[in-house]
Symmetry: C2
Subunit: 299 residues, 2 copies
């Protein structure tokens, strides 16, 4: 199986499980809130974050069914963040992956509430006994998910990004500031996905720390690739208009250090991420390929 | 100590602990996100929900310090819900408790993100080992908190409330529909606060169920009292303009069944709530007083 096939197969598993979990824990059929949550969650995304949870668990011999609910919870958090980021008062996006955003398909207040409910659902899923037999694992998953997603993680990253943009001064940011901002906005959740596989498997502290560092490198590569795609990519690959981020005045690394230097940092980040996985031998191949794939495609 | 003194003392404990938890787990000093979260969270509220967690735990001999972090987490969820409910696309409120709402003191996107971060913080607090030594307790707290707050609980209640209001048809709602809506929007979290005390104390399933039923009765009383205050109360007691809810076209029970019948139902709800606590004897006095106080003041 090629990497792309493997990613696609995982996405299929996740899509089905998300559908089931929404039915089990989400609003009852016929509720408008449930329809908005489904619109946000079941959009045929690549499911890269849950893939990382699955593959990180796989490093320790866990099969997909044993980690699927935890993986789904991380995807709920990712999807909630997209719904809120797209809102009129934030990025004001009308489409995502070729479909209307939630506030366009429904309305603004429904989008805010659907995002709130998806974030809350993530923690309900993680806390359910079905997710893992060991309550210590479930509570630790909830803790790292909350930490990565919250006011010292993803939400702070979005805040810093918007603050710079609304003040109209991304040009005045340093590359270091952009890196911190992107690390919070995107990297923290990606690193937590990788760490989650180790938590689910009762891995050692050293293994867990290595996976987290891998995830941090991967998150960095992800963002640099995204900036490069924004600068040079075509809209079909990205699912959004090329040049949109820099046109919107968003802070991008490429605008600060140039394409050549950004490419060099991308290669370095992928190499550093991959080296963290040396200790796991051949079983780490899918995760190493994930880093290479991220770099080549700008996932 | 009178009930009001007891409530005030608990509010003081909670206020201090919320301040500490924001410093420990929230954005670092100087971040605008942290300032918005503090504005939302440290507003001198009555802290009725954390009081219920503390007193429910107290039924089983737990001292306040043993339940304070869990109580604080429930207050974070309550405060996040107020921030989002106040947003321009929802209730569009400019003031709360005599201060500007978060989106007025800051701006709309900051208010959305501060709410998101407070909701996430609640789960981080619950999941931290500091909150309870037993991970099974922490994960169960996270589960009941998420269930009460999410798409089958509080968020769904807010959605139904706004749907009726935006369609301009609250008059067409039945009293049963209003009761369901209010039970979801307000009652679910209040009941979960009461249940949380039992979870923290490793109480029996029967004790836990009794506390949850007490909380459901209390939540109902809370809402009827609120509707009565809206219909007849003065702004100073409520902290918002009297008649505001019915003027906004909000569904209120009083408008459907009248003041006399609403008063009768209020008395009945308080009585039913109090009877659930018979098994706990004299230790339940503060919770029985809480129900009576709710009825008399319209918390």
């Amino acid at each position: 199986m090629t990497f792309v096939q493997r990613l696609g197969a995982a996405a299929g598993h996740i899509e089905r499980r998300l559908t089931e979990l929404l039915a089990e824990c989400g609003p009852e059929k016929g509720e408008r809130l449930g329809a908005a949550m489904r619109h946000a969650l079941l959009d045929g995304g690549k499911r890269f974050r849950p893939f990382l949870v699955i593959e990180s668990g796989g490093l320790f011999g866990l099969e997909a069914p044993a980690v699927l609910d935890a993986a789904a919870a991380f995807e709920c958090v990712h999807c909630y963040s997209l719904v809120h980021d797209d809102l009129p008062s934030m990025d004001d996006d009308d489409t995502r992956r070729g479909r209307p955003t939630v506030h366009r398909a429904f309305d603004e207040w429904t989008a805010i509430l659907a995002g709130d409910a998806l974030l809350t659902l993530a923690f309900e899923i993680v806390a359910r006994p079905q997710t893992h037999a060991d309550p210590a694992v479930r509570t630790e998953l909830a803790r790292i998910l909350a930490h990565a997603a919250g006011g010292r993680g993803m939400v702070l990253g979005q805040m810093l990004d918007l603050e710079a943009e609304k003040r109209g001064e991304p040009q005045q940011l340093t590359a270091e500031h952009v890196r911190r901002l992107q690390g919070l906005k995107t990297g923290a959740l990606i690193a937590a996905c990788c760490e989650a596989g180790a938590v689910l498997a009762h891995a050692s502290d050293e293994e867990r720390a290595a996976l987290k560092r891998y995830g941090e490198g991967l998150g960095l590569a992800f963002q640099i690739a995204d900036d490069l795609l924004d600068a040079e990519g075509d809209a079909a690959v990205m699912g959004k208009a090329a040049g949109k981020d820099s046109a919107a005045g968003k802070a991008t690394l490429v605008s600060l250090i140039g394409i050549v230097e950004a490419r060099a940092r991308l290669t370095e980040a992928v190499g550093r991420a991959a080296r963290e996985l040396n200790r796991f031998g051949a079983r780490a191949t899918p995760l190493i390929e994930a880093a290479q794939f991220t770099a080549s495609r700008g996932y």
